[in-house]
């Protein structure tokens, strides 16, 4: 049946709609010009806020790393369990929810598309098996390619075309969506327990520097015409004083021709914006970083906002997790993957009364608020690294309300308060801005043409919030706002009403998107490459690719490359 959403306050930044009262018509899972009212199911959205479905550009929800995180934290699950109902499966939270619960909880906040940003290619099947078990959402996943031997070797030879062919091949056989780079060069070094400390440190055994890896892959990204820029986790992440590394990283990417489009997305930038000499003198580097970003157009970023809670950190950045282990002494997982990447996990509690955490909290918000153009900044917690995604409404409240920021601010460690730039920031995001940083901007950055907006032809992914923008001043009534964004009035995905009043009505499988890059010349699969394959990996060439069997709802996006 057709669906008509009547009379809501619609925020659709990609189409320039700012809170206008209008109707939205849906047929066959898509947004259309109009439908016959008489024969349609009507949702009366009078007095409600209508957004496109949420898009999350960076959230660790599936795969080997995430699941090991689940495995090591029974004490985290014990306190947050979910019973089975007639429509839904059972499971657990808290910081790393089980697959079904991940889907339900995202959907209850109005999200419809999420990106899993970290996948070791060798373990790609695992990631896809889990994505199949995450209902309610469309998904995609980024393979880790920054320390893959074939990338390092080809780039150090200067053979960009060959490198591009391998990357295209890898994206296709792992059913990936974008090039993910984590601590370039550092992960290979971590294979022998070492790390790189600047973008010009040489990677042992490979005659290449992080600078060359990042610029090389940015070039490759361009040659392949990939929808998203390189998705970059910088060197020296989480280390005091690292904002200079981040600035150098952004500067070195200026050399890539960009014709106005971003060439790199720097993820969880909060962790890469530390000034100061050591943990004792840590301060915010947000001012310098945002100054640079405001003056350049080749970078987008997401926040990686800290939440004061008990969570689980997990990243492919093995050496960084080791640093965290040394700081916390907590249980530590390290998992290096042959020829490709590494990984680590540490449970972590961010505390208000810890000066470092207090400053980190401030940095995330400073970055978001001091970046003038909202299309360059996206709201994330780097789930679950800086906090679980279920805390998003809290962050949104901090973004739209100085009052909400102050309420948290005054409970921070005094040192954190003194070093924060927040008291001088009066900016409060509007609902329109919010629709950009939580959906429109993210969809645009990802090149998802049918997501993040409500124009004709878009996927009918819609979130309706119980909030009347004419009656509620969100900057003052931030608690009302937060409640509305915690449990939607409706989540509609592909034209189906999945959630109503915060309750899951039905499960829907969602699809897995991946890029099928067509290069003029493909990687030639001959006995020679199979032999090399056997040398590099411990599995056979034939058993490496993710076959169609592993994608329940495969949704390839075909792209023609320049090579």
């Amino acid at each position: 049946m057709d669906l008509l959403i009547k009379n809501g306050f619609v925020f659709d930044p990609l189409n320039g709609v700012n809170g206008d009262k209008m109707d939205i018509a849906i047929r066959n899972g898509k947004i259309v010009e109009s439908v016959t009212e008489r024969t349609s199911k009507i949702i009366d959205a009078t007095g409600l806020t209508v957004f496109p479905g949420g898009v999350d550009i960076h959230t660790h929800i599936a795969g080997a790393e995430v699941n090991t995180g689940r495995l090591v934290r029974p004490e985290d699950h014990e306190k947050d369990f979910v019973r089975k109902t007639a429509n839904t499966r059972s499971g657990v939270g808290y910081s790393i929810p089980s697959t079904f619960i991940t889907g339900y909880r995202y959907s209850r906040m109005g999200y419809t598309t999420v990106m899993n940003p970290s996948m070791a290619p060798l373990e790609a099947k695992h990631t896809h098996e889990e994505l199949n078990d995450i209902p309610m959402l469309d998904k995609a996943t980024y393979p880790l390619l920054g320390d893959w031997w074939l990338v390092l070797e080809n780039l150090s030879k200067g053979d960009f075309e060959e490198c591009a062919r391998y990357v295209a091949w890898m994206l296709r056989i792992t059913k990936g969506y974008a090039i993910k780079i984590v601590n370039p060069g550092g992960l290979e070094s971590w294979g022998f327990g070492r790390n790189v400390h600047s973008i010009d440190d040489e990677v042992p055994n490979f005659c290449i520097t992080p600078r060359e890896i990042m610029c090389g892959l940015a070039k490759v990204n361009k040659m392949l015409n990939l929808p998203h820029a390189i998705h970059l986790h910088t060197n020296n992440l989480g280390i005091p004083g690292n904002y200079t590394t981040t600035l150098e990283t952004m500067k070195c990417l200026e050399s890539i021709p960009n014709d106005g489009k971003p060439v790199a997305h720097i993820t969880h930038l909060q962790f890469s914006s530390f000034a100061g000499e050591d943990w004792g003198t840590l301060t915010s580097g947000a001012e310098e970083i945002t100054k640079y970003i405001n003056n350049h157009d080749h970078i987008t970023f997401d926040m990686g906002q800290i939440i004061f809670t008990d969570t689980t950190t997990m990243t492919a950045d093995g050496p960084f997790e080791y640093t965290l282990y040394q700081l916390s002494g907590h249980k530590w997982v390290n998992s290096d993957v042959e020829t490709e990447t590494s990984g680590g996990i540490i449970p972590f509690r961010y505390k208000r009364k810890n000066p470092v955490n207090a400053i980190q909290w401030s940095i995330g918000l400073e970055l978001a608020l001091m970046t003038k153009n909202p299309w360059k900044v996206f709201m994330t917690t780097d789930h679950p690294n800086a906090g679980p995604f279920t805390a998003y409404p809290k962050i949104l409240a901090w973004l739209v309300s100085k009052k909400a920021r102050e309420a948290t601010f005054k409970r921070l460690h005094r040192k954190g308060q003194r070093r924060s730039l927040l008291p001088s920031i009066t900016r409060e995001l509007s609902l329109y801005d919010l629709a950009i940083v939580t959906r429109a901007g993210q969809a645009k950055s990802l090149g998802l043409k049918e997501k993040g907006h409500l124009g004709v032809g878009a996927d009918a992914d819609i979130a309706i919030f119980n909030l009347n923008p004419e009656k509620v001043d969100i900057a003052q009534k931030y608690k009302t706002f937060r409640r509305a964004f915690s449990n939607v009035a409706y989540t509609i995905k592909g034209g189906k009403v999945l959630v109503k009043d915060g309750e899951v009505l039905q499960q829907s499988a969602g699809k897995t998107m991946w890029v099928d890059v067509q290069t003029s010349q493909e990687v030639e699969v001959d006995e020679e490459i199979k032999r090399k394959f056997r040398e590099y990996w411990t599995v056979e060439f034939d058993n490496y690719p993710v076959s169609d069997h592993y994608l329940k709802n495969s949704s390839p996006i075909t792209i023609k490359a320049d090579v």
């Binding site: 699941n67 993957v337 020829t339 411990t538 034939d542």
Partner: protein
Amino acid sequence: MSIVKSVTCPVCGCLCDDIELTIADGAVAQVKNGCAMCEAKFFSHNNKHRITTPLMRKDGELVPVSYDEAIQKSAEILANATYPILYGWSSTDCEAQRIGVALAEEVGGVLDNTAVVCHGPSILGVQDVGIPTCTLGQVRHRADLIIYWGCDPWSAHPRHLERYTSFTDGRFEGSEWKSYINKVKAAAGKKKLRSLERKGILKERHPHIAPSVNDNKPPEILNKKGRKLIVVDVRKSMTAEVADYFLQVEYGKDYELIQAVRALVKDQELDVEKVAGVPVEYLQQLVDAMTSCEFGVIFFGMGLTQSAGKFRNIDVAISLVRDLNMRTKFAIMPMRGHFNVTGANTVFTWQSGYPYGIDFSMGYPRYNPGETTVVDILMREESDAGLVIASDPVSNFPRRAVEHLVKNPLIVIDPHMNATSLVGDIVFPASIVGIEKAGTAYRMDHVPLPLKKVVDPPEGLLSDEEILSRILNEVRNIKLKTLEVA
């Protein structure tokens, strides 16, 4: 006749995926690259004693019935049970395991896998202290110190050494196969002499005395460049024969030994001369070898997980590896037994948050090994129905547990008749995963690999996945009906 390459072997946690099969007349005719266990498994599908229809116990006798009847009855048993257990799972594919979680949740039962009697303690250790580990290729490329602790890959994981560790060529470390051949020759020679002596053909010239631990000084070789192999065990296994150094630990004293090594890694002095029968001086040399390597790895087996101390042994072994990472790069990995026991833990974890011993009786997953694990539940005589899939608890559970398992209705799903199916009330034959059914399995290092279907199952035979799905559907129907009635 056809040849199938790159077949994954569904036997042990090594999950070798380079097996080459020759298929003739719908049967496996030849197996290349595999070990003896692998060959035996691939030929087993042609076993004449396989049953091809479900059996149900009527008047004390197992009689053939249709799948429909067996599925209907199974669903009734499970749907009406107050505290059913669903056990096994380690020798089937992830696709079947996924349905298993849904079924356990639907019937409010306890889902448990064979980890509970092998590497369950390893998981408990990991949950307490984490685990610094890696994939096996990382070991092949980089490890120059390989330690097998309480395990004997030579017998239990025959191709582990040649595919992943000492006898492989990696990017940064080479194979030690030459020294290995010499050692194997020497060991074989010694064995032959001994056997001749036993038979009285050769006169016993040197009365055989087992070398005492005290004489077993760590050799100079531990300081050389290149790969070194150390075996720690309570007795000299075959793997120990080819090792550069064999450290014999007193039975049940692994915990003390590792804890002492940890103290030495931290440059502490000990107030004792010997630990677990080993002079501290030797341990010092062992510690030197550990801290001076470029990349070390410890593989551990049931000798550590199932001896006195159990999961605390793993806790301390992992703690040692954590400590060693302060000095160099070190990793640790359990030697998982069944080919997809890792997969079972993985699937259970992503769907429910917990790896094994999951109690769904209250409508949500609850986990507490010792309380919610099947052996303990059976020992306390709490369950009232059981489903066993792809395992044989009757032959390896404690007697009291088996007695209670058998006392209640018991559903068994397995390709072959085993001790458990002989005492079951409903027995389902299933196709053999990885030979007659395609699917997915996880290697001991969590690398997922596809399992192939290389021959057709006997006519009419369903797979684990199909049987479970149909039981699940029936259970849902029954619950729906009772809901309507209510």
